[in-house]
Amino acid sequence: MTSEAAALAGKEHSGPGFWSSFADNERWLWPAMLAPAVLYIVLLVGFPFFLSIYYSFTDVTVGGRDLHFVGLQNFNRILESSTFWLALKNTIILTVISQVCILVMASILAQALSVNFRGKWLVRLLILLPWVAPIALGSIGWLWIFDSIYSVINWTGRAIGILGPNDWPIWLGQPNLAMASIIIVQIWRILPLATVIILAGLTSIPQDLHDAAAVDGAGPFRRYFQITAPLIRPITLVAVLFGIIFTFTDLIVVFVLTRGGPYDQTQVLATWAYFTGIQGGDLAGGAAISLFLFPVLVAVAIIFLRFARRTEVL
């Protein structure tokens, strides 16, 4: 035993070598652990990001590499364009409406999934599907569903009598319906994630609290709105924040479904930036438009993070 202990002690007292002091000293350890990620982010996000900002102050096009500084000209041009305001409005409408719907629907669905029932495994699988489907393909699936000729929604609506023989909504052709279609697809793809996150919050609430509230004579609704909802608020905020980010920066759904049409009525900032910068060749203009996305998102994120920190998410 003695030798054992000695060996043990010997090993432990081997003195502070370089590695040892490094692995123990938080002053060095934290920077060392952060360095790879920070380096990567600076090189592969920061650098291109600032390059883009630089572009937005120049007159660069896809066809040329020589560029001249033009100051705020691109931004002025964008702000004067009615399409910009339309795209901004659409982006906000799309984000707000889809998030509100997702919040309500995810809360209901999570509540329904939080109890045990037969076939839950399958139900959960089916519900998860939209989230794992590559969104470009999922959107094409919806394109097929919304097709102006073969729309299965319209066919079904007619078959069950909701739509009259002369009703044939053109989902992607009428501005309001087109917007609605895009919102539906956004809800469809983000709802599973939001549900899973909120479900996570629900399962983390101790049963005691529900019992206590029940004993206190609270009905199911009071129980939900006064006990459950406040308790899952922080995690709900997380779900909503992700939803906002995913919706706000998304290009694919609009790109596949309507390409901003009819006549720019469903244009969002991300698609308009793409069409201007890449299709139209006005790289500087495209960069300037997509830069508008960033401050808005940052503002939203900061508000959310502040809320969330108050509730100890971050």
Partner: protein
């Protein structure tokens, strides 16, 4: 309450519950059901407006799947997606776990603002980045290589995972690391041998997220890769099955199904762990 009314109440509740589930399953899974039908319908059947779209008016056909597998590099695309996904997951974890941990343990304003700063980088939209990226990729000689995607995709998976893991690590009591250090590990050793295993659920969550984000990505994939054998599924399918004026709907729907359903099944096995991972940082 009489036993009868109690039973009636219960039945009503069960019916309501079932109705909610039916509604949501229909909404969320219908497009996939539709994909199944479309995949196996003949082109003539698909394009006949007089037909009931739900029925197989012609006998089901495997033609669309044959097109998918014989005329496109679909299997290769799946494999590419899996490989890129795996590589990005490894890079993401290697960068995000240490960074997330360090941020979760750094005291003071610096750690906090660094954390927020890293999260904000997640908000930089890809539309801004991809032109400069093209230059970087070219400078490195990676055009048309899957390595270009492996290099670029962490630009959105790393900030996200750092943020996710940071919340998760914060929920782990410091006592446990202190105990490990007293028990003979270094600060770093405590992280490796104690914190990491405890955080498995959180790490799993970030793996799932990373992988999903990779399979969803479209814009970079289109721009950096032109060789058909190097496409990922997200890019390959719409690129090859929309030819000029014609959509190969059947094959495309089949591709979407094949690409999604297996992943969904795998996720379903992990969803409880995933749920635990997500709440790690948010609800104690």
């Amino acid at each position: 309450m009489t036993p009868f009314s109690a039973r009636a109440g219960k039945a009503a509740q069960a019916t309501g519950h079932a109705a909610i589930l039916v509604f949501f399953v229909t909404f969320l899974a219908f497009p996939f059901a539709w994909m199944v039908i479309t995949t196996f319908k003949t082109t003539q059947d698909l394009h006949n407006v007089a037909n009931n779209p739900y029925l197989f008016n012609d006998p089901p056909t495997l033609d669309h799947l044959r097109t998918l597998f014989a005329d496109t590099a679909f299997v290769q695309w799946l494999a590419n997606t899996a490989m890129v996904g795996a590589a990005v997951v490894i890079i993401t974890l290697a960068l995000a776990i240490p960074a997330g941990y360090a941020l979760s343990r750094m005291t003071g304003a610096l750690g906090q603002s660094l954390g927020v700063g890293i999260f904000l980088t997640y908000l930089v939209p890809p539309t801004i980045l991809f032109i400069p990226f093209a230059r970087i990729i070219a400078a490195l000689g990676l055009q048309d290589s899957l390595w270009s995607l492996v290099l670029v995709y962490p630009s959105f998976t790393v900030p996200f995972s750092i943020w996710l893991l940071m919340g998760f690590f914060k929920a782990i009591p410091r006592d446990i690391e202190d105990a490990a250090m007293i028990d003979g590990l270094s600060r770093f050793g405590a992280f490796l041998r104690v914190v990491m295993p405890i955080s498995l659920a959180g790490i799993l969550t970030s793996i799932i997220f990373t992988f999903t984000l990779v399979t969803q990505e479209f814009v970079y994939g289109v721009i950096f890769i032109t060789a058909s054998s190097n496409y990922t599924v997200s890019v390959g399918v719409p690129t090859f099955l929309v030819r000029g004026d014609v959509y190969f709907s059947g094959s495309m729907m089949g591709a979407c199904l094949i690409a999604s359903v297996p992943i969904a099944i795998i996720y379903n096995f992990f969803v409880d762990r995933f749920v635990a991972g997500f709440t790690g940082g948010a609800v104690k």
